[in-house]
């Protein structure tokens, strides 16, 4: 496809949004925003398999949406608040301002 070789913001954004357009990864991010955690802690919190969490953290790490700090055999993941806060705020504002009834249009609700 043409866009794959195209330089510019579109391509950069595509990768970025792709990383965030996943419920497991977003839930992980939401939890990590509360406090940094290890893979198993996240797996427990999200009631998901450890391998699934690992698989999903990987692309976030590659994009520096999260970072890792190894403490012994635990890997503690931390979110990049500097990047994510403004984005989440922008979406929150969007939902409030442009979406009727508290962002209903953003929730897969067809009514």
């Amino acid at each position: 496809m043409g866009w794959k070789t195209k330089q510019g913001q579109t391509e950069t954004c595509y990768k970025f949004f792709t990383n965030l357009a996943n419920p497991t990864r977003l839930a992980a991010i939401e939890h990590l925003m509360e406090k940094p955690m290890s893979v198993n802690e996240l797996a427990t919190a999200l009631k998901q398999e450890q391998s699934m969490i690992s698989h999903n953290l990987k692309p976030l790490l590659q994009c520096n949406i999260i970072s890792i700090e190894k403490q012994g055999r635990k890997h503690i993941y931390t979110v990049n608040q500097e990047t994510l806060n403004p984005i989440f705020n922008a979406i929150k504002n969007h939902a409030e301002k442009f979406c009727p009834r508290g962002g209903k249009c953003l929730r897969g609700d067809k009514s």
Copy 2:
């Protein structure tokens, strides 16, 4: 899945990011940011079928990421700059600050 019924930012963001995590839709947005356009103008600019453009504009419209103004038989689409500008700026900053060599990590480049 649990997250589908869960209230809150995660779910709202999921729908939002899903809409943007697509190369065709991002390319359309990029073009519409230059100037508002009709479906056929976009199809020509992106070298894509008209029906593909229509299919892709639909979810963006539902989320108010773009808006429509009907001029006769033409449907002119306009991007919601108020929402998109801060998000794209945040990603641009992220790429510059956190990604080596101009955001290479965001471009599916494994090197």
